[in-house]
Amino acid sequence: GELYCPLPNPRNVHFESINMKNVLHWSAPEGTGDGVLYKVKYSVYGVGKWIKKLECSNISRTWCDLSNETSDYEEQYYASVKAFLHGMCSDWMETTRFNPLTETKIDPPMVSVSSTEKSISIILTAPAKWKRSPEGESISLAQVYPGLQYNVSVLNKKTKKRWWFSVSNDTLVVPWLEPGTAYCVSAQIHVTTPFLNSGFSKEYCIATLKDKTA
Protein backbone atom coordinates (compact mmCIF):
# COMPACT_ATOMS: atom_id res chain seq x y z
CA GLY A 1 0.00 0.00 0.00
CA GLU A 2 0.92 3.64 -0.32
CA LEU A 3 3.31 4.96 2.29
CA TYR A 4 2.51 8.00 4.38
CA CYS A 5 3.64 10.83 2.07
CA PRO A 6 4.21 14.09 3.91
CA LEU A 7 7.67 14.66 2.38
CA PRO A 8 8.00 17.93 0.43
CA ASN A 9 7.82 17.36 -3.32
CA PRO A 10 10.66 17.35 -5.84
CA ARG A 11 10.69 20.71 -7.58
CA ASN A 12 10.98 21.96 -11.13
CA VAL A 13 10.57 18.55 -12.78
CA HIS A 14 11.33 19.15 -16.45
CA PHE A 15 12.98 17.73 -19.57
CA GLU A 16 16.23 19.13 -20.89
CA SER A 17 16.73 18.07 -24.50
CA ILE A 18 19.64 18.59 -26.88
CA ASN A 19 19.56 16.96 -30.34
CA MET A 20 16.76 14.82 -28.88
CA LYS A 21 18.85 13.48 -26.04
CA ASN A 22 16.02 13.87 -23.53
CA VAL A 23 17.06 14.00 -19.88
CA LEU A 24 14.64 14.49 -17.01
CA HIS A 25 15.89 16.94 -14.37
CA TRP A 26 14.51 18.09 -11.01
CA SER A 27 15.52 19.81 -7.81
CA ALA A 28 15.56 18.14 -4.42
CA PRO A 29 12.58 18.81 -2.14
CA GLU A 30 13.04 21.92 -0.05
CA GLY A 31 14.86 21.49 3.23
CA THR A 32 15.50 17.74 2.97
CA GLY A 33 19.31 17.67 2.91
CA ASP A 34 21.16 14.41 2.09
CA GLY A 35 19.81 10.91 1.85
CA VAL A 36 16.81 11.56 -0.38
CA LEU A 37 16.17 8.84 -2.96
CA TYR A 38 13.98 9.12 -6.04
CA LYS A 39 11.85 7.00 -8.36
CA VAL A 40 10.97 7.97 -11.92
CA LYS A 41 8.15 6.92 -14.22
CA TYR A 42 7.03 8.09 -17.62
CA SER A 43 4.05 7.77 -19.94
CA VAL A 44 3.21 8.31 -23.59
CA TYR A 45 0.51 10.93 -23.98
CA GLY A 46 -2.75 9.36 -25.14
CA VAL A 47 -1.69 5.92 -23.92
CA GLY A 48 -1.36 7.02 -20.33
CA LYS A 49 0.05 3.78 -18.81
CA TRP A 50 2.75 4.87 -16.38
CA ILE A 51 5.97 2.91 -16.86
CA LYS A 52 8.66 2.74 -14.20
CA LYS A 53 12.16 3.65 -15.33
CA LEU A 54 14.00 0.87 -13.50
CA GLU A 55 17.45 2.36 -14.01
CA CYS A 56 16.24 5.42 -12.10
CA SER A 57 14.73 3.61 -9.12
CA ASN A 58 16.07 4.58 -5.68
CA ILE A 59 18.65 6.95 -7.13
CA SER A 60 20.12 9.89 -5.24
CA ARG A 61 21.02 11.98 -8.31
CA THR A 62 18.50 14.50 -9.60
CA TRP A 63 18.41 13.58 -13.27
CA CYS A 64 17.41 10.57 -15.35
CA ASP A 65 18.13 9.94 -19.04
CA LEU A 66 14.86 9.07 -20.76
CA SER A 67 16.19 9.43 -24.31
CA ASN A 68 15.54 5.80 -25.07
CA GLU A 69 11.98 5.96 -23.82
CA THR A 70 11.15 9.21 -25.61
CA SER A 71 12.96 8.59 -28.90
CA ASP A 72 9.80 8.50 -31.05
CA TYR A 73 9.44 12.20 -31.79
CA GLU A 74 6.00 11.70 -33.26
CA GLU A 75 4.76 11.05 -29.73
CA GLN A 76 4.52 13.28 -26.68
CA TYR A 77 5.35 12.33 -23.13
CA TYR A 78 4.93 12.96 -19.43
CA ALA A 79 7.43 11.99 -16.74
CA SER A 80 7.07 12.01 -12.98
CA VAL A 81 9.35 11.86 -9.93
CA LYS A 82 8.68 10.78 -6.31
CA ALA A 83 11.06 11.37 -3.38
CA PHE A 84 11.70 9.02 -0.42
CA LEU A 85 13.43 9.71 2.94
CA HIS A 86 13.35 7.79 6.25
CA GLY A 87 10.37 5.72 5.16
CA MET A 88 8.38 8.74 4.09
CA CYS A 89 7.61 9.85 0.54
CA SER A 90 6.44 12.83 -1.46
CA ASP A 91 3.70 13.06 -4.07
CA TRP A 92 4.48 12.20 -7.67
CA MET A 93 5.49 15.43 -9.39
CA GLU A 94 4.93 15.57 -13.14
CA THR A 95 6.43 17.43 -16.07
CA THR A 96 4.31 19.39 -18.46
CA ARG A 97 3.56 17.57 -21.74
CA PHE A 98 6.90 17.10 -23.50
CA ASN A 99 7.07 17.32 -27.32
CA PRO A 100 10.62 16.31 -28.36
CA LEU A 101 10.17 17.68 -31.87
CA THR A 102 9.46 21.23 -30.80
CA GLU A 103 11.27 21.37 -27.46
CA THR A 104 14.71 19.98 -28.23
CA LYS A 105 17.64 22.35 -28.55
CA ILE A 106 19.84 21.94 -31.61
CA ASP A 107 23.63 22.16 -31.52
CA PRO A 108 25.41 24.36 -34.09
CA PRO A 109 26.34 22.69 -37.39
CA MET A 110 29.80 21.36 -38.13
CA VAL A 111 31.60 23.57 -40.63
CA SER A 112 34.47 22.62 -42.94
CA VAL A 113 36.07 25.09 -45.30
CA SER A 114 38.49 24.93 -48.22
CA SER A 115 39.69 27.65 -50.54
CA THR A 116 41.00 28.46 -53.99
CA GLU A 117 42.50 31.78 -55.13
CA LYS A 118 39.17 33.58 -55.32
CA SER A 119 36.61 31.44 -53.57
CA ILE A 120 35.80 29.55 -50.41
CA SER A 121 33.85 26.28 -50.29
CA ILE A 122 31.87 25.61 -47.12
CA ILE A 123 30.42 22.21 -46.17
CA LEU A 124 27.79 22.26 -43.42
CA THR A 125 26.72 19.23 -41.41
CA ALA A 126 23.72 19.23 -39.10
CA PRO A 127 24.12 17.34 -35.82
CA ALA A 128 22.80 13.81 -35.63
CA LYS A 129 19.75 12.92 -33.59
CA TRP A 130 20.59 11.17 -30.32
CA LYS A 131 20.91 7.41 -30.90
CA ARG A 132 20.77 4.46 -28.57
CA SER A 133 24.24 3.13 -29.32
CA PRO A 134 27.26 4.16 -31.39
CA GLU A 135 26.47 1.29 -33.78
CA GLY A 136 22.93 2.50 -34.22
CA GLU A 137 21.81 4.18 -37.43
CA SER A 138 22.76 7.84 -37.52
CA ILE A 139 19.82 10.11 -38.37
CA SER A 140 20.66 13.70 -39.22
CA LEU A 141 18.42 16.39 -37.79
CA ALA A 142 18.14 17.59 -41.39
CA GLN A 143 16.01 14.47 -41.96
CA VAL A 144 13.90 15.18 -38.89
CA TYR A 145 13.23 18.82 -39.84
CA PRO A 146 12.44 19.15 -43.56
CA GLY A 147 12.52 22.96 -43.20
CA LEU A 148 16.09 23.00 -41.82
CA GLN A 149 18.28 25.81 -43.19
CA TYR A 150 21.74 27.22 -42.44
CA ASN A 151 22.51 30.88 -41.77
CA VAL A 152 26.17 31.42 -42.71
CA SER A 153 28.36 34.42 -41.92
CA VAL A 154 31.59 35.07 -43.88
CA LEU A 155 33.96 37.75 -42.54
CA ASN A 156 36.86 39.32 -44.47
CA LYS A 157 39.44 39.62 -41.69
CA LYS A 158 41.28 42.45 -43.50
CA THR A 159 38.35 44.72 -44.34
CA LYS A 160 36.06 43.42 -41.56
CA LYS A 161 33.33 43.22 -44.19
CA ARG A 162 30.76 40.48 -43.42
CA TRP A 163 28.34 38.67 -45.71
CA TRP A 164 25.30 36.66 -44.69
CA PHE A 165 23.88 33.69 -46.57
CA SER A 166 20.84 31.53 -45.91
CA VAL A 167 21.05 28.13 -47.59
CA SER A 168 18.95 25.00 -47.51
CA ASN A 169 21.47 22.54 -48.85
CA ASP A 170 24.69 21.70 -47.06
CA THR A 171 27.29 23.25 -49.38
CA LEU A 172 28.02 26.88 -50.16
CA VAL A 173 30.64 28.35 -52.49
CA VAL A 174 31.48 32.03 -51.95
CA PRO A 175 33.06 33.43 -55.17
CA TRP A 176 34.73 36.73 -56.18
CA LEU A 177 36.99 36.86 -53.09
CA GLU A 178 40.42 38.53 -52.80
CA PRO A 179 43.43 36.22 -53.21
CA GLY A 180 45.76 35.84 -50.23
CA THR A 181 43.16 37.03 -47.75
CA ALA A 182 41.89 35.47 -44.52
CA TYR A 183 38.18 34.80 -44.21
CA CYS A 184 36.32 33.49 -41.15
CA VAL A 185 33.14 31.44 -41.43
CA SER A 186 30.49 30.74 -38.78
CA ALA A 187 27.14 29.04 -39.21
CA GLN A 188 23.83 28.51 -37.39
CA ILE A 189 20.95 26.11 -37.97
CA HIS A 190 17.52 27.66 -38.47
CA VAL A 191 14.32 25.61 -38.62
CA THR A 192 11.40 27.65 -39.89
CA THR A 193 8.58 25.56 -38.41
CA PRO A 194 8.59 24.60 -35.66
CA PHE A 195 10.70 27.68 -34.95
CA LEU A 196 14.10 26.43 -33.73
CA ASN A 197 17.53 28.09 -33.89
CA SER A 198 20.90 26.64 -32.89
CA GLY A 199 23.67 28.85 -31.60
CA PHE A 200 26.42 29.90 -34.02
CA SER A 201 29.33 27.56 -34.53
CA LYS A 202 32.78 28.75 -33.61
CA GLU A 203 34.62 30.59 -36.38
CA TYR A 204 36.58 28.61 -38.96
CA CYS A 205 39.20 30.77 -40.66
CA ILE A 206 41.03 30.10 -43.92
CA ALA A 207 43.05 32.16 -46.37
CA THR A 208 42.45 32.25 -50.12
CA LEU A 209 45.50 31.21 -52.13
CA LYS A 210 47.89 33.88 -53.29
CA ASP A 211 47.45 35.19 -56.85
CA LYS A 212 50.14 33.32 -58.82
CA THR A 213 50.16 35.94 -61.59
CA ALA A 214 50.83 38.84 -59.19
Binding site: G46, E74, L101
Partner: protein, 139 residues
Amino acid sequence: NVNEIRSGFTAIKANIQARDPIRTVSILSHPHSLHKIKSSDKCCIIHQLFNFYMDRVFKHCTTEDSYINRKISSIANSFLSIKRKLVQCHNQNDCKCGQESMEKFKQILTNYEGLNVTSAAIKSLGELDILLDWMEKSR
Protein backbone atom coordinates in the same frame (compact mmCIF):
# COMPACT_ATOMS: atom_id res chain seq x y z
CA ASN B 1 -0.56 31.50 -41.33
CA VAL B 2 0.83 28.20 -40.08
CA ASN B 3 3.67 30.10 -38.41
CA GLU B 4 1.12 32.43 -36.82
CA ILE B 5 -0.81 29.43 -35.51
CA ARG B 6 2.40 27.86 -34.25
CA SER B 7 3.55 30.97 -32.39
CA GLY B 8 0.04 31.63 -31.06
CA PHE B 9 -0.18 28.08 -29.79
CA THR B 10 3.31 28.16 -28.26
CA ALA B 11 2.21 31.17 -26.19
CA ILE B 12 -0.74 29.28 -24.65
CA LYS B 13 0.39 25.65 -24.84
CA ALA B 14 1.39 25.22 -21.18
CA ASN B 15 -1.81 26.94 -19.97
CA ILE B 16 -4.14 24.94 -22.20
CA GLN B 17 -2.46 21.57 -21.67
CA ALA B 18 -2.52 22.18 -17.89
CA ARG B 19 -6.32 22.38 -18.18
CA ASP B 20 -6.37 18.85 -19.63
CA PRO B 21 -5.74 16.33 -16.85
CA ILE B 22 -6.62 13.29 -18.98
CA ARG B 23 -3.38 11.55 -19.97
CA THR B 24 -4.92 8.30 -21.14
CA VAL B 25 -6.78 9.72 -24.14
CA SER B 26 -5.61 11.63 -27.17
CA ILE B 27 -7.95 13.06 -29.79
CA LEU B 28 -5.50 13.09 -32.70
CA SER B 29 -2.67 10.66 -31.97
CA HIS B 30 -4.15 7.42 -30.56
CA PRO B 31 -5.03 4.74 -31.48
CA HIS B 32 -4.23 5.99 -34.98
CA SER B 33 -1.28 8.35 -35.46
CA LEU B 34 -1.66 11.11 -38.04
CA HIS B 35 1.84 10.20 -39.13
CA LYS B 36 0.60 6.86 -40.46
CA ILE B 37 -1.85 8.47 -42.90
CA LYS B 38 -1.14 7.79 -46.57
CA SER B 39 -0.04 10.83 -48.55
CA SER B 40 -2.98 10.38 -50.92
CA ASP B 41 -5.33 10.85 -47.98
CA LYS B 42 -3.63 13.89 -46.50
CA CYS B 43 -5.52 16.52 -48.44
CA CYS B 44 -8.84 15.09 -47.28
CA ILE B 45 -7.77 14.66 -43.65
CA ILE B 46 -6.36 18.21 -43.43
CA HIS B 47 -9.61 19.51 -44.88
CA GLN B 48 -11.70 17.48 -42.41
CA LEU B 49 -9.52 18.50 -39.47
CA PHE B 50 -9.75 22.21 -40.28
CA ASN B 51 -13.53 21.90 -40.37
CA PHE B 52 -13.38 19.94 -37.08
CA TYR B 53 -11.37 22.66 -35.34
CA MET B 54 -13.55 25.45 -36.70
CA ASP B 55 -16.88 23.74 -35.95
CA ARG B 56 -16.19 21.77 -32.78
CA VAL B 57 -13.12 23.09 -31.01
CA PHE B 58 -12.53 26.85 -30.98
CA LYS B 59 -16.10 27.78 -30.14
CA HIS B 60 -16.00 25.60 -27.00
CA CYS B 61 -12.68 26.94 -25.71
CA THR B 62 -13.59 30.04 -23.75
CA THR B 63 -11.52 30.52 -20.59
CA GLU B 64 -11.60 33.00 -17.74
CA ASP B 65 -8.33 34.48 -19.03
CA SER B 66 -8.80 37.24 -21.62
CA TYR B 67 -5.20 36.92 -22.87
CA ILE B 68 -5.75 33.21 -23.56
CA ASN B 69 -9.11 33.94 -25.20
CA ARG B 70 -7.51 36.54 -27.50
CA LYS B 71 -4.82 34.07 -28.52
CA ILE B 72 -7.43 31.38 -29.21
CA SER B 73 -9.46 33.69 -31.42
CA SER B 74 -6.36 34.78 -33.34
CA ILE B 75 -5.49 31.12 -33.92
CA ALA B 76 -9.09 30.53 -35.06
CA ASN B 77 -8.79 33.44 -37.52
CA SER B 78 -5.60 32.00 -38.96
CA PHE B 79 -7.39 28.67 -39.31
CA LEU B 80 -10.23 30.40 -41.12
CA SER B 81 -7.97 31.98 -43.70
CA ILE B 82 -6.13 28.71 -44.29
CA LYS B 83 -9.48 26.95 -44.55
CA ARG B 84 -10.57 29.30 -47.34
CA LYS B 85 -7.42 28.43 -49.29
CA LEU B 86 -7.99 24.76 -48.60
CA VAL B 87 -11.47 24.99 -50.10
CA GLN B 88 -10.00 26.36 -53.34
CA CYS B 89 -7.29 23.67 -53.31
CA HIS B 90 -9.98 21.08 -52.43
CA ASN B 91 -12.01 22.07 -55.47
CA GLN B 92 -9.08 22.27 -57.84
CA ASN B 93 -7.29 19.11 -56.72
CA ASP B 94 -8.13 15.50 -56.41
CA CYS B 95 -8.87 15.71 -52.73
CA LYS B 96 -10.63 12.38 -52.51
CA CYS B 97 -11.54 10.95 -49.14
CA GLY B 98 -10.64 7.27 -49.20
CA GLN B 99 -12.32 4.82 -46.87
CA GLU B 100 -9.20 4.45 -44.75
CA SER B 101 -8.92 8.18 -44.16
CA MET B 102 -12.60 8.43 -43.30
CA GLU B 103 -12.13 5.61 -40.78
CA LYS B 104 -9.27 7.56 -39.22
CA PHE B 105 -11.28 10.75 -39.09
CA LYS B 106 -14.24 8.86 -37.60
CA GLN B 107 -11.89 7.61 -34.86
CA ILE B 108 -10.91 11.21 -34.12
CA LEU B 109 -14.61 12.11 -33.74
CA THR B 110 -15.12 9.05 -31.54
CA ASN B 111 -12.26 10.15 -29.30
CA TYR B 112 -13.77 13.63 -29.17
CA GLU B 113 -17.28 12.41 -28.40
CA GLY B 114 -15.96 10.17 -25.65
CA LEU B 115 -15.46 13.26 -23.50
CA ASN B 116 -17.73 16.10 -22.49
CA VAL B 117 -17.63 18.95 -25.00
CA THR B 118 -15.51 21.36 -22.99
CA SER B 119 -12.90 18.74 -22.05
CA ALA B 120 -12.82 17.43 -25.60
CA ALA B 121 -12.42 20.93 -27.05
CA ILE B 122 -9.66 21.92 -24.61
CA LYS B 123 -7.88 18.61 -25.25
CA SER B 124 -8.12 19.12 -29.02
CA LEU B 125 -6.78 22.65 -28.68
CA GLY B 126 -3.92 21.33 -26.53
CA GLU B 127 -3.04 18.92 -29.33
CA LEU B 128 -2.61 21.61 -31.99
CA ASP B 129 1.15 20.98 -32.06
CA ILE B 130 0.44 17.36 -33.02
CA LEU B 131 -1.56 18.64 -36.03
CA LEU B 132 1.04 21.28 -36.93
CA ASP B 133 3.99 18.88 -36.58
CA TRP B 134 2.25 16.45 -38.94
CA MET B 135 1.25 19.12 -41.45
CA GLU B 136 4.74 20.62 -41.55
CA LYS B 137 6.40 17.25 -41.83
CA SER B 138 4.28 16.31 -44.78
CA ARG B 139 4.69 19.66 -46.52
